[in-house]
Amino acid sequence: MNKIQFVNSTTNIKVAEFISINVTPINTSVNTASVVTLNISTSYRNETCTVDLTTGTTALTFEAVSGLLNVGEYHRDLQSSSNDTSISLDGVSQTQIQNGALSGIGLVLNYNIKGSPLTIWRGFYDDSGNLMTYTDGQGRTRQLIQRFYGVVTSFTITENSDPQNLYYSIVLNCSSIKTILSNNVVGRRTNHDDFQHQTLGYMYQDGGGNWQLSATKTGDNSDYDTSMDQVAPLNNAYFNFGQKP
């Protein structure tokens, strides 16, 4: 786990959350190259940050005026754990975010939001309002610290109204990738075929030190669980442990 240098020896911390969601338009196959990335933040201004899912070098631009209201609580444990969180969005956002009306109601009704992968980072600001950089454990200069990686499992649209006030808000419920992986193996029988049936993948740390699912790893197709591969050959093998070599 990387040490967060900004929070050492200070009693004043300025933070903002940064979120990236990959979605596809409704009626579009998820396998086509139509994935649209929504990058939003709670920051006061648009930020172009040095974060990337694979290399840690590509910059993403996060929209500040995006209707992002709140990011729910998420836990950070010593070991990988399954936790959920939620993201609240303004239902009627004022701006069109990248590639069209990707905001508010339009986001959840026009795009396949369920199942969309989502990453949450946290950034720290200095007294001048500039995003601070830090050096991670691998010696890379970074600006954001990853806090959550998962998928959107559901969303709710809430309308609060009285005669004078009307509010729409959207809550995206998100499960961590560990929950998704756990669900894939629940009830799975212990044999080779069942282990091959599920495309599970595995978790690995990318060049930026972030945990990713192997499906995102370029050139790696070994997404099948290999745990049972040697069981059948071993089952019929005879070992004479007393035999002289």
Binding site: T11, V15, Q94
Partner: protein, 237 residues
């Protein structure tokens, strides 16, 4: 149909009291040893101005009818750009304290604005060394971008082609909007782009053959810091 309003400006011009709220979004936790730990959510720090308007307006006056009609039109949905330089009775408010003459002020243009560091080109302003460009608390605002900033400290011109002002909040205007080389409004000439998030109702009080109108609460003006509003009265949100 959209209309251009001046009603919030009228309310400001008739202000009896003005309350400024510049507080940041901050959370404070105290340890058992009473050490305070502070967390701040960095925001655009919008200006929040409460204007109390105790004056009675004569309903028979066509200007009053226009005023209430504009307020009703504006409601809580549209913005209006106001200034505190339109009324001689408010000329002290946000008054410029530096040494630059109006002519010199008009010469300075924006060089860069990153974080809370505003760098201005002196151009041909011919400022004498030792003169105050701004004093602590002075207002500056880039022309065309109605977001006022205040100077965190005195700035004395020494020499060179630029001067640097540290502002009370960081710049959130996207450079793509082209504020470079724009001129600057100073002191109470700065403009606030606000909407009234509580738009008070009003009461008619009979007064002979007419009625006096009084507003039922103060006006809470909230700076609109969303995407740049290019047309006055563009919808908020």
């Amino acid at each position: 149909m959209t209309i251009t309003t001046t009603c919030l400006q009228t309310i400001v011009n008739h202000a009896e009291t003005i309350n400024l709220n510049r507080r940041r979004v901050i959370g404070i936790q105290y340890t058992k040893s009473q050490i305070a730990n502070v967390t701040e959510t960095i925001t655009r720090l919008p200006w929040q101005i409460k204007v109390k308007n105790s004056a009675y307006y004569d309903y028979a006056d066509p200007a009053t009818r226009a005023l209430v009609e504009q307020l009703d039109y504006l409601d809580r949905r549209y913005v209006e750009t106001i200034s505190f330089s339109n009324n001689a009775n408010l000329s002290y408010f946000f008054k410029y304290q530096g040494d630059l003459t109006p002519s010199q002020q008009s010469q300075l243009t924006v060089n860069s604005f990153t974080g809370n560091t505003l760098v201005l080109n002196v151009n041909s302003a011919n400022i004498s060394a030792g003169r105050y460009v701004v004093k602590q608390g002075d207002f500056v605002q880039i022309v065309g971008f109605p977001y006022p900033f205040t100077a965190l400290g005195d700035v004395v011109y020494v020499s060179g082609s630029t001067v640097t002002i540290t502002t009370h909040r960081p710049n959130f205007i996207d450079p793509i909007n082209g504020y470079a080389n724009q001129h600057v409004n100073w002191g109470n000439a700065v403009e606030f782009q606000v909407f009234c998030n509580n738009m008070p109702t009003y009461t008619f009080v009979k007064a002979g053959n007419t009625a006096a109108i009084t507003f039922d609460s103060e006006f809470q003006l909230y700076e609109y810091t969303g995407n740049l509003v290019t047309n006055i009265n563009e919808v908020v949100g």
